[in-house]
Symmetry: C2
Subunit: 217 residues, 2 copies
DNA sequence: ATATTATTTTAGGCTTGTCTAAAATAATAT
DNA sequence: ATATTATTTTAGACAAGCCTAAAATAATAT
């Protein structure tokens, strides 16, 4: 019915449109999918024919309701599997993303329902990302990059970007996990780096890192 | 590295050669793979080039050590996943095969090691089939089709064929599970059907059914 | 030993998903 | 308003995995 490649494209389009309505451009998608613009154009046509996306030549694509449902179903599976790997199989949070990239394509409604139940219907995955429910409803978390906070502010970590395992190892080391309170001590304007405190310990975070930590808005 | 299609071919070749040494013929493989002989010949050439099989034109194929290792690894994954689905997710034994056909292709050594551990290093899957160990060692069970037993004999069920969910539902209903003792009361020579007793209950089994129940030799 | 039949391989073609190079279009700068 | 640059699409090709039809080979029957 729907191929693995198609599912991955739809998922990428969803992420790039940040669940929003702005069109996703060919080159963005090419970069995200680690492929070439020409290949993206080819796939875009197929997805458009199948009505998973609406496509205006030269101006990018948007998910249809149908396409969004597929994307959310894949994301649901991804996040449930990540939760399973961490909670049940004792994986660390930096090891799960790649495996979940494979597991998210397993086709079995029954499996994902049973898995959800087995895990106790979790609301967020190990990185703090919300898990869409069975009907494709996802709770849009009010979140903002740590990088945008001003000195003096303190805030709770909501989620962290999950696809770079080196980043995750580092965040784990400094204790930057969802639920933790993080306080901005100082911020260097010229490079965007900041000093923060987590668990009463101080750390210097590069802009890079502080953009990958999401705190509540 | 190795594709899903290639893995499935190697698994099929393994099963058809019944872990033995007799060559597997093109048409056998075509039937098992639900494909055409011409397609099989194409794939056979690829697998031969990659040295997963030895191939003598017109006389069938045999797994190399390398090919056998791949086949056993896929079978190991299949059976561990089936065990997981039944033991942890409360699937019934007739629902697991199809899902396991997908899960067996997930590539992650770590995942399968963790899963094995999580399941307590099971030796057999829900249908009684032995699970190859991490090194590709598989315990060749001494087993024989129930159909070959003579009246009066009683024997323990070791395994049942796992790929027909209707058969499995039926076997479940009559209590024909691995570990159960089954006794042959009578056998009709003309159609190979037999009357048996399981748990002190009597059943008439067609030849079809009695060939899909494996008992210890 | 030869003819018939069954099996297997080859030839040529199709779809999916990818690529490079060239052409078309849009965006930006002068 | 036009020229330059950046982006996107088209054209043409390729590998994987499948197909049908035809040719080649092996097995079997006479
Ligand atoms: Mn992930
Ligand atoms: Mn995640
Ligand atoms: Mn099975
Ligand atoms: Mn089984």
């Amino acid at each position: 019915m729907i191929s693995l490649a198609e599912e991955n494209y739809l998922k990428s389009i969803y992420h790039l449109s940040q669940a929003g309505s702005k069109s996703v451009l060919t080159n963005e998608l090419a970069e995200a999918m680690n492929t070439k613009a020409a290949s993206v154009t080819d796939m875009i046509k197929k997805l458009s024919t199948k009505e998973f996306i609406s496509y205006e030549k030269y101006y990018g694509v948007n998910l249809t309701a149908k396409g969004k449902a597929v994307a959310l179903s894949v994301i649901r599976k991804h996040r449930l599997w990540e939760t399973f790997l961490v909670e049940k199989l004792a994986f660390s949070w930096d090891e799960v993303h790649e495996v979940a990239e494979q597991l998210e394509h397993i086709q079995s409604k029954r499996l994902i329902e049973k898995l959800d139940e087995y895990l106790g219907f979790p609301k967020v995955d190990p990185h703090g990302d919300p898990i869409p429910d069975n009907n494709g409803k996802i709770k849009a978390l009010q979140q903002v990059m740590l990088a945008t906070l001003k000195p003096g502010a303190d805030s709770t970590i909501v989620a962290v970007r999950d696809s770079d395992s080196h980043l995750l190892k580092y965040l784990d080391k400094i204790g930057a996990r969802p639920g933790k309170i993080i306080k901005v001590i100082e911020r260097e304007e010229y490079d965007g780096s900041m000093e923060v405190s987590i668990n009463n310990q101080r750390f210097f975070l590069s802009k890079e890192v502080s953009e990958n930590i999401l705190v509540n808005a």
